[in-house]
């Protein structure tokens, strides 16, 4: 606009320049003339006026054209360039000025393009550096997560509000074992990212431990605290707490190492009890015997009848004591073993390792005979394998057997590990000296003797001959282990890194449901149900509930709830091909009265999400009266949210939305798989909704309601 005015002004100036000097000169000449001259001039001029005017107009036109051309090239051209430069600056980095117009403008364009290229190179470099830094942070995180997940201790990391940011597989298994009833089938509903640790551990104790750490920090001592707590199920947990420090030296969270000591405490109690029976219990018995013996000795001339009574006392007490000692030994044999740390190991693993080492170091071939491959032993595998190697090298030195064989069997609570060789008989004295020698195997020396290793295991060892076969064996007798019952290793649903951690939760202060929080900030439970049919009011029942959690905008595939429910009524045959659940599968499963409370606990403090949620909610609500369980939290429906995001699309079926949003998932029509699909869809919908200004849960609920009513009206 402004440029246009300037152009008009330039044209006016041109016109004035072309006419002005002539007019002014004419006026001055005119004023100087006499009347006769003026008349003559007028005549002269008027007759030539058309030619003069024409010439002037012609000149003016050329002048205007030149001016216009210059204006177009230098003013408008530069303005255009300014616009494209601005575009390059902002919206489209890759845009370039097309060199156009007079050489000067082209040069300017070229210079601008060069500057842009330089800037791009710099920016790319910065981006690359950021990406590299991010990748290394990510790698570190993954390494940490991998490390944690393989730890044998249960580790849980929490922020200051007690929200769980990280837990490892061990913790999951441990708390799963602690969970009561069908909660255990929910994959350990108690533990989960963003959940509160206080549902597992006593809040007062955790807070107290935190205070202890703060005090110890202030006093410059090692910041660490311990406590022992009991769970709802009466299990004893020993918890160690160390702080996670924020950059400025403040606390930002804490790491809890949790150990279930119920078993070891029970064992300790049993040991105490055994000790007690053997000491205190002996006192009175020995006291009685001692007094009786003293009397017999001090008064040798007492009446035979009295003597008889004292002897009976001794006999009686000694007999009773013998029984007690036998009982104690058999009852507490386990607890009275040496306290050397033994682990539960698979017998064949020990043998395989021993074979490798013997063949490696002694070049002595080994074979195996009957092996009980399901036999677990309590052993210190290192010293046990060392002992086997030691015996093998002794045999090689003394009897040069061609090969050694291993055998593994069990009898009652004892495991027999045999090391067999063919050759002449050896004397028991020889073996006795071997037992007492400091063990050597290859170039390694153990500080222990064979006897000490055996004693540590509470075991025995002997030499035995199989005369018929012309061979002999050493038999290691070791305690059989009953491995701790652990959840069977479940199939991993996803490959790739486990989702046991989320450090962004450090900033995640409060997980309670606030409708004005951003959609991307809340914790959700996406769920789906399979039912016997479509009419809950007509007696159709839930037969499966599948659910997963979304925390911090991430679908947690490890934290799932997946439970088949006994509907207490026959299945409809027409439904079976759809949900794939048969009569056999529902029989013996818990009923909805048991499952619903567990599911309710799983959903605690989350917003519910389902596809066509009204259907699933109807089933849940119909059970409200019977179970007393109410799902009061807000519910989002991906069907309605999809309708909000894409109002002009015809179909909002889950399959169609998945295609539209590019969500690919393996199986479907199983409650858990469908819940996971719904979760993926929801995560894709969140940014689409944001584009429409729907940012909070409240806005999403309101928008859903509108589409719902819109749909109902039509």
């Amino acid at each position: 606009m402004k440029a246009k005015y300037r152009f008009i002004a330039a044209i006016v100036v041109l016109a004035l320049l072309m006419t002005g000097p002539f007019v002014v000169t004419s006026l001055l000449v005119w004023l100087d003339m006499k009347d006769a001259e003026r008349t003559m001039l007028t005549e002269l001029l008027l007759s030539r006026l058309p030619v003069g005017t024409l010439m002037t107009l012609f000149g003016f036109a050329i002048g205007a054209a030149v001016l216009h051309k210059l204006f177009k090239q230098y003013v408008e051209g530069l303005l255009r360039m300014a616009e494209t430069l601005r575009l390059m600056l902002g919206a489209n980095r890759d845009f370039r000025v097309t060199p156009d117009g007079p050489p000067e403008v082209r040069q300017l364009a070229q210079a601008a393009n060069d500057l842009a290229a330089q800037r791009d190179a710099l920016m790319d470099d910065v981006d690359a550096q950021i990406a590299r830094a991010k990748a290394s942070v990510e790698e570190e995180k993954n390494r940490l997560a991998a490390l944690m997940s393989e730890l044998a201790q249960a580790v849980v990391v929490c922020n200051l509000d007690g929200r769980i940011l990280l837990y490892n597989n061990r913790a999951r298994l441990q708390f799963k074992a602690l969970a009561q009833g069908p909660t255990s089938v929910s994959g350990g509903a108690l533990i989960g990212l963003g959940r509160s640790i206080f549902s597992i551990l006593d809040k007062g104790q955790v807070e107290h431990a935190r205070e202890v750490i703060v005090q110890r920090l202030a006093a410059g001592k090692m910041p660490m605290a311990h406590f022992i707590t009991t769970t709802r199920g009466g299990q004893l947990l020993r918890v160690q707490m160390v702080p996670v420090m924020a950059g400025e030296g403040g606390l930002s969270g804490y790491v809890l190492t949790v150990e279930n000591i119920t078993r070891s405490i029970e064992e300790e109690e049993r040991r105490d009890q055994a000790l007690h029976t053997l000491t205190q219990g002996s006192r009175s018995a020995i006291g009685n015997i001692r007094a009786a013996v003293a009397n017999l000795l001090d008064y040798p001339d007492m009446e035979p009848e009295l003597r008889e009574r004292f002897l009976r006392v001794i006999d009686d007490e000694v007999a009773r004591r013998s029984v007690v000692i036998d009982q104690t030994m058999s009852q507490f044999s386990d607890s009275m073993k040496t306290r050397w740390p033994l682990e539960d190991i698979l017998g064949i693993d020990v043998i395989a390792a021993a074979q490798r080492r013997i063949e490696d170091k002694l070049k002595l071939p080994t074979k195996t005979e009957e092996l009980d491959d399901a036999l677990w032993m309590r052993a210190d595998s290192y010293s046990l394998i060392f002992a086997l190697g030691f015996l093998a090298s002794k045999l090689q030195d003394h009897y040069a057997p061609r090969e050694l064989r291993f055998r593994l069997s069990s009898e009652g609570r004892l495991a027999y590990l045999d090391l067999i060789w063919s050759g002449p008989a050896m004397s028991s004295e020889t073996f006795y000296t071997w037992e007492m020698e400091v063990m050597q195997f290859g170039s390694e020396t153990s500080p222990l003797t064979l006897r000490e290793v055996i004693d540590r295991h509470g075991g025995e060892i002997w030499y035995q001959r199989e005369k018929a076969a012309h061979r002999a064996f050493f038999r290691f007798v070791l305690p059989v282990a009953t491995p701790e019952t652990e959840a069977a290793p479940e199939e991993r649903r996803v490959t790739g890194r486990p989702e046991y951690y989320d450090f962004d939760l450090f900033k995640f202060e409060d997980a309670s449901i606030d409708l004005d929080r951003k959609l991307s900030e809340l914790a959700y439970t996406v769920f789906d149900t399979e039912t016997t049919g479509l009419e809950p009011s007509n007696g159709d029942e839930i037969i499966q509930i599948g659910a997963a959690r979304i925390v911090n905008n991430r679908l947690l595939r490890q934290e799932v709830f997946n439970q088949i429910v006994d509907p207490e009524r026959p299945l409809r045959p027409e439904g079976i091909p759809i949900h794939g659940i048969t009569e056999d599968m529902v029989r013996g499963q818990p009923t909805i009265d048991v499952v619903l409370p567990a599911f309710h606990e799983f959903c605690e403090e989350t917003v519910l999400i389902a596809h066509n949620a009204a259907f699933d909610m109807r089933f849940l609500q119909l059970k409200e009266e019977r179970t007393g369980i109410r799902f009061g939290q807000p519910v989002l429906d991906t069907l309605l949210l999809s309708a909000v995001a894409h109002p002009n699309q015809e179909s909002h079926k889950l399959d169609d939305i998945m295609t539209r949003l590019g969500v690919v998932i393996g199986k479907r029509h199983n409650a858990l798989e469908d819940a996971l699909a719904t979760g993926e869809v929801f995560l894709k919908l969140v940014p689409l909704l944001e584009e429409q200004g729907i940012v909070t849960v409240r806005q999403a609920l309101e928008a859903s309601e509108k589409t719902y009513f819109a749909r109902v009206k039509y």
Binding site: T279, Q280, S284, A294, N295, D298, R309, F310, V313
Partner: protein
Amino acid sequence: MANKILIVDDEPNIVISLEFLMKKEGFEIAVAADGDEALAKVDSFAPDLVLLDVMMPKKSGYEVCEALRADPARAGLKIVMLTAKGRDTEVAKGLAIGADAYVTKPFSTKDLVVRVRELLGGA
């Protein structure tokens, strides 16, 4: 007149020895098998010394000892606790609640007689 001793223990196997021993030593003996009987016998028999077992049915030796010590009229009564509870905390408790001696089983009968004589000799 011979000193009187009340033996309180629920185990006949020790009572027989103690009874024999103390009679041989010239004391007059009575026996009680539990705490309640012991308190009754203290009244009827009026012993100079009580050999008191700690672990007994109904009333423990501690309770009997406390009950006896609560009665100022019996301030002169000597109490020797005989027990299989040998932890130092229990010894401390026995002496704290007023036992004159605390003897843990098994004990030497000679030593016991010496202790008993000492206690009665001082009375």
